[in-house]
């Protein structure tokens, strides 16, 4: 049943179609009708409880009063200008990525907007509100420009490459903006900004490491296979929290006291916790990326490799030009899935005392007397922010699957 034809049909026919649809999908047979009734009762109950909580018993002023803490943690006053350029860059890139790699997505976009707009308009006023609106506008523009066919076929390829370069550059730009011109102490980075920063660092750094591990696990050199298999199985066998705790307690004992400008001026063994956590997330995620990429490598037909060898290409060129492009294309959706879970896992750094979104939220209920007992509101808001990002990424991965024709013959 196509919604478009139903909408265009004359009223009488529409009601017949609606009735037929209801019979086919809701009331076909006794069992089905019973199922519909029970589910409706449950839904009515759930909706009533949710609506009553959201609009009646919940007091959302706790979010409004703490939006700064939730979004950027204890970032010093007057230094916010360091954050906005990267926010603009990332939101424009997000819009472009969405527009370029997805075909339809309008319904999902509307859904997201319905959630996003109240979140930002309700909680952001004045200057912050203006800048937030600008960021959203940039994302929408990026989406619209690439979606409405304004970009000529010929420029689509270069634009895609530009976007990939942009994503890779986002991390150095962010770090530069945070550390240049006086800089802000890394222990003051926090809030949702920190979650996104950690996720981007983890993605950008774990991807090449994971590809290397995958290549060496499938290599013809037994020594390479042995070491990378050991690494992958070790890191996949233990929970992330143990690795984060190791980065917190143990890592400094094993690092030399070399001084690295900007990152660890006092010596690597006194590296900031944020950087140590970044190392932990990268090492952990790389093991999972490696297993996904290995799946892709195994799926590349052997003839491709043999043909490349017959042409006399070197090992590096065979991998870079023939094998990896095919392998990565096949596993791109799975990789996005891994990056979603990495993003969700950034909430775990709250356990090692970093004030990211979840810990900032917990700090409100524990530290501010006037807001004690508001945990449900805070936790729901925290969950909503994570959900918005993770859900849009998962939609993107589904679209990628479609537009790349993966799984189709």
């Amino acid at each position: 049943m196509d919604a478009m034809t139903a909408a265009k049909a004359p009223p009488a026919q529409f009601s017949i179609q609606a009735r037929r649809w209801a019979r086919d999908n809701l009331f076909g047979g006794i069992g089905n009708t019973l199922l519909t009734v029970v589910t409706s009762l449950f839904l009515a109950f759930a909706f009533y409880q949710i609506l009553r909580f959201v609009f009646s018993s919940a007091q959302w002023d706790v979010i409004e009063a703490n939006r700064r803490l939730l979004f950027i943690g204890r970032f010093p006053q007057g230094e916010e200008w360091r954050l906005w350029p990267t926010i603009f860059l990332v939101s424009a890139l997000a819009g472009l990525t969405w527009g370029l790699w997805s075909k339809v997505g309008w319904l999902a976009a509307v859904l997201l907007a319905l959630v996003l707009v109240p979140v930002f308009l309700f909680f952001a006023h004045g200057q912050v509100g203006m800048l937030t609106a600008l960021a959203i506008a940039l994302a929408l523009m990026g989406y619209a420009v690439t979606q409405t066919g304004l970009v000529h076929e010929r420029f689509q390829g270069p634009i895609r490459q530009l976007i990939v370069v942009g994503w890779v550059m986002a991390f150095p730009v962010t770090i530069f903006m945070l550390l240049a011109f006086g800089g802000v102490d890394p222990s003051l980075w926090g809030g949702f900004y920190l979650n996104i920063l950690l996720a981007v660092v983890g993605i950008v750094a774990s991807f090449p490491l994971g590809v290397l591990l995958a290549l060496s696990r499938t290599s013809s050199y037994p020594a390479f296979r042995l070491v990378s298999t050991g690494y992958i199985e070790l890191f996949r066998g233990v929970p992330l929290i143990t690795i984060l705790l190791m980065a917190w307690f143990v890592l400094p004992d094993f690092l030399p006291s070399w001084s690295v400008p900007v990152f660890a001026p006092a010596g690597l063994d006194r590296m900031e916790l944020v950087y140590r956590v970044m190392v932990a997330l990268t090492l952990f995620s790389a093991a999972y990326v490696a297993e996904i990429v290995r799946g892709g490598l195994l799926a590349v037909p052997k003839g491709q490799l043999e043909a490349a060898q017959a042409l006399g290409l070197s090992t590096v060129r065979i991998n870079a030009l023939i094998v990896l492009p095919q392998a990565l294309r096949a596993v791109l959706p799975a990789l996005v899935g891994q990056f979603i879970s990495l993003f969700k896992d950034t909430s775990l750094v709250s356990i090692v005392t970093l004030v990211e979104l979840l810990r900032a939220g917990r700090a409100i209920a524990q530290g501010q007397i006037q807001f004690s007992g508001r945990d449900p509101e805070i936790l729901l808001f925290v969950a909503l922010l994570f959900w918005i990002v993770a859900f849009s990424m998962s939609r993107l991965s589904q679209r990628l699957e479609h537009s790349l024709g993966i799984g189709e013959r």
Binding site: L26, Y221, T242, V250, D253, F254, L380, F386, S394
Partner: protein
């Protein structure tokens, strides 16, 4: 490599493939060994050992069912109690998550629009939110908001209010209680004759298997439907019940009662355990649901059509034709979800439930023996992962189709 030597000595020995392979791998292993030695050398300065495990623990575990370890026991004993807590969490979680995942996965493909949408909303909400946020939400915003023990909620409730204006009277007998201190459930206590009943249960199982074999044979021979599974269950239930009477009813139901500050009798599931279990089960269940859906869709459509053509009803189609075939595809990804659930149980540390990682953190705080403790924890997790993988691989190999 005769080809290369035939080309002659004009090419240096370093162009020989064997030499190059050997040299590259030796150099690589040398680097790895050097790195390993560096780590070992750094660790040597820290004066590490495993003797601390024999020391007096100095803390106790407040969340345990049955076992009881106190501050005077060895640290090793408390660590083992932590492992037991992890296994409890993971074991119960795996069973419940599988059931929830199966139901939700089948519901995703239901012909009933409302049911499939509901399953979709569940999956997309839970999958895209961090598990840690969910655990803390269930703990702080749900279980800690429950009434005090003296105002415990009776389960099943006396009335159910669907909407503010509809109240349905419900069964009224106190089976379990729910409060901020957790969930109190009835529990069975054993009496004399329990051992005898266990022996009779074994006999019942053997007899049931034999009866099933007989009915299956009969069905094959005569072509008449002989319901071997029903016969299996019936035989087992009959002998088990008769044995229960013969052994003199050796089980007593110990029902909980609401006391002043704690529940008397029964068994208590702490709020921490309950919150963790609910969060782990709903989270993993959502992932399993997607796996179940994908595997069911991967079964060729002709199978469903053919089974409809031979007159099977929708339930039989699912349970006899599509699900068994889908199982083959879904076992490997579900195994990795089981592993994830086991590893994710370590997030209990955030709400101070003493499982493996939680106990280890306390031991580390008390002794400062960080590295040995982490080595033990990692070894434990690797061992558990290995066991789960082995069990699931055995199951998988039984389902694998023999192909040429």
């Amino acid at each position: 490599m005769t080809g290369i030597s035939a080309i002659g000595p004009a090419l240096g020995f370093w162009r020989n493939v064997r030499v190059r392979r050997f040299a590259i791998q030796t150099a690589f292993l040398g680097l790895v060994a050097a790195f390993g030695y560096y780590l070992f050398d750094q660790a040597r300065d820290l004066e590490l050992g495993f003797d601390f495990l024999d020391g007096r623990a100095g803390f106790d575990i407040s969340h345990q069912f049955g076992t009881s370890y106190g501050p005077n026991d060895r640290r090793l004993d408390l660590y083992l109690a932590g492992i037991v807590n992890t296994i409890r969490l993971a074991g119960v979680g795996i069973i419940l998550a599988t059931l929830l995942g199966l139901v939700a996965g089948v519901a995703r493909l239901s012909g009933n629009w409302l049911v499939s949408r509901l399953a979709l909303v569940y999956v997309e909400t839970v999958r895209n939110t961090p598990l840690l946020v969910q655990i803390i939400f269930w703990y702080i915003a749900v279980f800690l908001q429950l009434p005090r023990i003296s105002d415990s909620i009776n389960l099943p409730p006396d009335t159910i209010s669907v909407l503010p204006f509809i109240e349905i009277p419900f069964i009224s007998f106190d089976f379990a209680f729910l409060s901020v201190r957790g969930l109190a459930l009835p529990w069975a206590t054993t009496e004399d004759g329990f051992g005898l009943w266990l022996i009779l249960l074994f006999i019942a199982a053997a007899a049931a298997v034999a009866v099933r074999f007989w009915r299956a044979q009969r069905q094959e021979r005569t072509g008449q439907p002989s319901h071997p599974t029903w016969w299996l269950l019936g035989t087992f239930a009959l002998i088990a019940f008769l044995g229960f009477a013969i052994a003199g009813f050796p089980l007593d139901l110990d029902r909980p009662e609401v006391g002043e500050r704690s529940y008397d009798g029964g068994i208590r599931v702490t709020a921490e355990f309950a919150a963790l279990l609910v969060a782990l089960v709903t989270y993993t269940g959502a992932f399993i649901a997607e796996i179940v859906r994908g595997s069911l869709q991967a079964v060729p459509k002709g199978q469903t059509e053919a089974s409809a053509a031979v007159g099977l009803n929708p339930f039989q189609r699912l349970s006899l034709v599509t699900l068994p075939q889908a199982l083959r595809i879904m076992i490997p990804p579900i195994t990795s979800q089981y592993l994830n659930l086991t590893k994710n149980s370590s997030l209990a540390v955030a709400i101070a439930f003493p499982e493996l990682v939680g106990v280890s953190r306390t031991i580390i705080n008390n002794t400062g023996q960080t590295i040995p403790m982490f080595l033990i924890v990692m070894a434990t997790y690797l061992l558990m992962s290995l066991i789960i993988s082995l069990v699931m691989n055995t199951i998988h190999s039984r389902f694998t189709l023999e192909t040429r």
